[in-house]
Amino acid sequence: MAQLAETPYPPLSGNDEVLFHPIERTTRGFYITVAILLFFTVMMVVAYITQLREGLGVTGLTIPVYWGIYITNFVFFIGISHAGTLISAILRICHAEWRRSITRAAEVITVMVLLFGAGSVITDLGRPDRALNVILHANFRSPLLWDVCSITVYMTGSVIYLYLPLIPDIAMLRDRGKKWQWLYRLLAFGWSGTERQHRLLEKGIAVMAILVIPIAISVHTVVSWVFAMTVQPMWHSTIFGPYFVVGAIFSGIAALLIALAIIRKVYHLEEYLKEIHFRNLGQLLLVMSLLWFYFTFAEHLTTFYGNEPEEMHILMLKLYGPYSLLFWAMVIFCFIIPVGILGIPKWRNVTGTITASAFIVVGMWLERFIIVVPSLANPRLMPSQGIYLPSWVEIFISLGFFSTFILFYVLFTKFFPIVSIWEVKEGREKSLQEVHERVRTYIPHPLKEG
């Protein structure tokens, strides 16, 4: 302690009371938001009941477009899920200090959105009542089964990874002795903040952070393999794995940025989610946008140059045909607009980054759609059957998925702090010194002090 006091970086102190406000005070805005979201959720339930009763015929799917926006949503949601765990894990491992106030928000996205990713596939099943057959009659040669496995593992991993750093905060909530005592007592797992507990927790988080990265990458790779393992034109591609992972991280960051901006605004957390967070994530987003474009370009150029008739047929449908509007919208939303905004440093502020993010989220959904549908719509041995248009059931279920995801997210913020309080505290108290010492180890031949 004495030594600490001697350093030029004394621990800062601060009041994190504002972080408890979302949990302890409920505004009218909250109820209105929940009501709106619930409305869409109810619509979703109505639509899904219709689909269950009648059959998948109520969708716009036909022969040969057997997969439509349900599968698009599946790929999209799984992609968004990379926001959290992966980014938070990478930042943790890299000891990026600015991560402290954003990791929680990111991890929650992962866990919540995964539910809807998996849910999309269930919705797409003709016989959801038989979904358990994937366990009873598992065929491990099927990429869909690989998906089932990797998503299950990912789900488990991300829940643990969300939960571990949540424990000290839950304990804090327990100790404040306000609402939901029983819940927090249960979840706090007897946390008392001892040195040993801290050590174990840090160790656990570190292990999970490392584990979660390969799992996350595998998940989206396997998702891409659902397509790439078939011999359908413009699906059967070797770069689909990395291409999907890049797209996933890309859309994940964009979704995270939007979530952060809303949290910051609604819960008045400008002090915690600062301009710099957006600036840093914006830079990351710029890199991902360029990387995404690189993959997209490589993928399409290879197809174009190879000039195989079947592949070309699909490519031309995307570039000039009925899907061209969506295709070019995707290029503009995912590349031209984001690079245009984020490429200019002075626009890399809160407004700029969330504008870019909004476009990216839409653009990436379009990208998934454009990957799934055109290849199916024009099979080799069948005359074209026109364009696939989703029906009201599909649209309401999709809207419902989005709104319910947001609802769950909002509810999470009602029960748990959306900014990791203990980590922020820890950062404030310890990290200046830590960073100072770490940086010192980078420097060649540091002069002996004193």
């Binding site: 038989r130 358990l132 009873l136 026109g386």
Partner: protein
């Protein structure tokens, strides 16, 4: 996974026991689910294979029917039925859907007007109401106010229909045209038929043809007997039979036949006659024609002088002067190289035949074209030869009454429409949906003014929609059914099968209904038809047939070869010795035929004025003289000869209004051939093999080029407007179709029943043009414009 009851109980018990022990396995539950899934009956009933005959078109293919527990499960081709041997067209396959159609009419019914609800009643009551009307009209000597339109056209019931009507005293009986009438008329004019009061029919020996010039016939769609034509097509291309038969298709529309032919020659609309004469030109000028036949057995080939000393132009000079290649090429739009090549191939081998022109109920074809086509057959000497064409005596089920075999000629549509104008009182529509299809709204209004319309349709269709009295027939599987040689078939054949299942509901075979009606109408009529039911009528008819001393009961293809061999050596080994044996054999084997009907010898004597094949038909000349000629002032001169010699006549109206740039080509698609079958879902799903599964709507076919130019997309709705009216149709785009041609199928969406859709008929826009010889309309030249709806 399908489980028997025993296994199921074991399994269910096991699962229940497992659950009781608290060790319920998920796999066990899943098995249980799988077992519960198909609610299959444990014993569906006895399985039987029976024979029947298809009644969905006049072809009458032999059927092999599978029944299980008295239900018809599957219909296939009868392997020993000579016409179709195993194969069957898609329409025959859907008989199960017809028998168990949800819109079947299962009991006689009547209503006071067509907007009133139906009331079912007993057969006696319903028949009596019709019989009393018939009695009243007969009493007032107005029998001619009773009309019957039938789509049967062949078989004993058909004969009974026409005989019933003539015995009653009406002569207004109309039958579905077979689609060969014009070709046959042409051949009758040129080759003649004996004046023995018997009916003759034209037949092609296509099985043995080696080179076929097809002038517009939709061989693979609605032509002749589909299953027979398909079988022939398979034989033409069966390498095991040796040389492959070449099929050349002339016609503007890219039909399935055109697409599947060896060569499609897309001639301009209405130029089939010119094309035939262009080929004749090459045959004559290159000296490729059959000299021995033409010189010895034909008349009017060279210039000649008649009894009055008048010089006439011969066919040779006529063709050489009038149908030079450059002119034919200009008329038809086909290069002279192509014409020369095809003509040389045509003359190169025996077994060449020219068939055509295309005909349909709304489009009877032109006599001048048909004569030009038959002239080609004479030029290569294919009259009566192996693989050629001939007129053979009509042969069918004899009606065992006095004058029973006198058949009424099929009248034209125009003749029928003329009768409709004379305020008829009773109209009986028997399998006549085709007839409604060929009427426009004005004609339908005329029908609506008829006080009593009777429909015999077994399902709700266009005829039952108009009717006020229903006397529901049943399908051929529910009654005694006969068959006989279909049109163009070269062999004599009759067939008979007992019912496969009893009539559904209270429906009744139309023949039985007619017999009952005769009994109720008049004792005089009753005495003409002394049979209590169709079975005894068939028996009586078969007894007459058993006296024949030729032919065999149906057998396998091996039997057929053997019988042919016997015939060639002049032997006949009868399968029966008595009437009873004949009857038993007939019912057991399904029919009798004479595989040696076709003599395969070049015909050398003709029943014409000259006794030869007449390029210049003296019968036609006499007919025209009788009629006063087309242009009376011109006879006798070259101009007169011009009307009688096979020729090409411009039929495109000179004053085609501005903007009507397309020519409508009406045709009968296979699934709606003969007018019925619109209500059958399986057929609506396969309306055309061109563009995917889009049925249930009427459509037109446009070339991709035209559609692209007009910015019209596949499946878009457009207006088709002619000088008369306009109708809406969906567009099917035909890749490679001839620009300027619009294919228009007859038939489309069902007009009644649960899947009904209101659509204007094609007849609404057709512009009738009369054939100068036959005096009937020909719609080949309806000009239309097309624009987006």
């Amino acid at each position: 996974m399908r489980l028997g009851r025993r296994e199921f109980i074991t399994l269910a018990g096991g699962v229940a026991g497992g659950a009781a022990l608290g060790r319920v396995s998920l796999r066990g539950i899943s098995r249980l689910n799988e077992a519960l899934e198909p609610p299959s009956a444990l014993y569906p009933g006895e399985e039987q294979w029976l024979r029947s005959i298809c009644s969905l078109c006049s072809g009458g293919c032999g059927l092999k029917v599978r029944t299980v527990g008295g239900r018809v499960i599957k219909v296939d081709g009868n392997p020993i039925y000579p016409v179709n041997r195993d194969g069957i067209c898609p329409r025959g396959q859907t008989l199960t859907q017809l028998i168990y159609h949800p819109d079947r009419i299962l009991a006689p019914a009547h209503r006071s007007a067509i907007d009133q609800p139906w009331e079912t009643s007993s057969w006696d009551q319903t028949l009596e109401s019709l019989a009393s009307t018939l009695r009243r009209l007969r009493g007032a000597d107005q029998q001619n106010r009773v009309l019957m339109v039938s789509g049967r056209s062949r078989g004993l019931t058909s004969k009974l229909c026409s005989h019933f009507l003539s015995s009653y005293g009406s002569n207004h009986f109309f039958e579905l045209p077979s689609g060969m009438e014009t070709s046959q008329r042409a051949l009758e004019f040129m080759a003649g038929i004996p004046n023995d009061g018997k009916a003759y029919r034209m037949a092609y020996d296509l099985e043995n043809s080696r080179y076929i010039l097809n002038f517009g016939c939709d061989l693979l769609e609605g032509w002749g007997t589909p299953a027979h034509t398909m079988r022939l097509f398979g034989q033409w291309r069966d390498i095991k039979r040796g040389r492959r038969t070449t099929l050349i298709h002339f016609g503007p529309r890219l039909s399935v036949t055109a697409a599947r032919s060896d060569e499609w020659v897309p001639v301009e609309v209405g130029t089939l006659g010119a094309m035939a004469l262009g080929i004749a030109f090459v045959l004559i000028s290159e000296d490729l024609y059959n000299r021995s036949f033409v010189e010895s057995f034909s008349f009017g080939f060279e210039d000649w002088t008649d009894r009055s000393g008048q010089a006439h132009m011969g066919f040779r000079r006529w063709v050489r002067e009038e149908y030079r290649l450059s002119r034919v090429s200009e008329i038809t739009g086909i290069s002279s190289e192509t014409i020369v090549r095809i003509a040389r191939e045509f003359a190169a081998q025996p077994g060449s035949i020219a068939i055509g022109p295309q005909q349909s109920p709304v489009q009877p074809g032109r006599l001048s074209d048909a004569m030009a086509i038959q002239a080609l057959n004479a030029l290569v000497g294919s009259i009566g030869t192996r693989g050629g064409v001939s007129l053979i005596p009509e042969f069918g089920w004899p009606l065992p009454v006095a004058d029973g075999n006198e058949t009424m000629r099929t009248a034209s549509l125009d003749g029928l429409v003329a009768v409709l104008d004379q305020s008829p009182e009773v109209l009986i529509l028997d399998q006549a949906a085709w007839f409604i299809d060929s009427l426009d709204d004005a004609h339908l209004d005329m029908l609506n003014r008829i006080p009593l319309i009777v429909s015999t349709s077994p399902v709700e269709d266009a005829t039952s929609k108009l009717a006020t009295l229903l006397l529901p027939d049943c399908t051929s599987l529910e009654s005694w059914t006969d068959g006989q040689s279909p049109s163009a078939y070269p062999y004599d054949l009759i067939a008979l099968t007992p019912p496969v299942i009893p009539p559904r509901g209270d429906s009744r075979p139309w023949g039985e209904t007619l017999l009952a009606l005769a009994r109720m109408t008049d004792p005089a009529l009753e005495s003409v038809y002394p049979w209590k039911d169709m079975e005894s009528l068939y028996r009586a008819s078969a007894n007459e047939l058993s006296r024949r001393e030729n032919g065999y009961l149906f057998g396998t293809q091996v039997d057929e070869q053997w019988q042919r061999m016997l015939e060639r050596s002049g032997w006949w080994n009868p399968d029966w010795t008595s009437e009873d044996e004949f009857w038993d054999g007939l019912v057991n084997k399904g029919g009798w035929w004479d595989p040696a009907t076709w003599v395969s010898e070049p015909q050398h004597s003709f029943q014409t004025v000259s006794g030869k094949f007449e390029f210049f038909s003296q019968r036609l000349e006499a007919l025209l003289r009788e009629k006063g000629g087309i242009q009376p002032g011109l006879q006798p001169s070259v101009e007169w000869d011009r009307q009688i010699l096979p020729h090409h006549a411009d039929i495109l109206p000179d004053n085609a209004p501005e903007g009507f740039e397309w020519t409508l080509d009406p045709y009968e698609p296979l699934v709606f051939f003969g007018g019925a079958s619109r209500q059958i879902p399986f057929l609506q799903q396969i309306t055309s093999p061109y563009s995917g599964p889009r049925g249930w709507r009427s459509w037109i076919e446009m070339s991709a080029e035209d559609a692209h130019r007009m910015g019209i997309e596949e499946d878009e709705t457009v207006w088709v407007e002619s000088a008369r009216s306009r109708i809406q149709r969906r567009v099917r785009i035909l890749e490679g179709g001839k620009p300027g041609i619009v294919g228009a199928p007859l038939g489309g969406a069902p007009t009644t029943g649960r899947w009904a859709r209101v659509e204007s008929t094609l007849a609404e826009i057709l512009v009738p043009i009369s054939d100068p010889y036959l005096g009937v309309r020909s719609h080949a030249t309806t000009r239309v414009k097309i624009y987006k709806a």
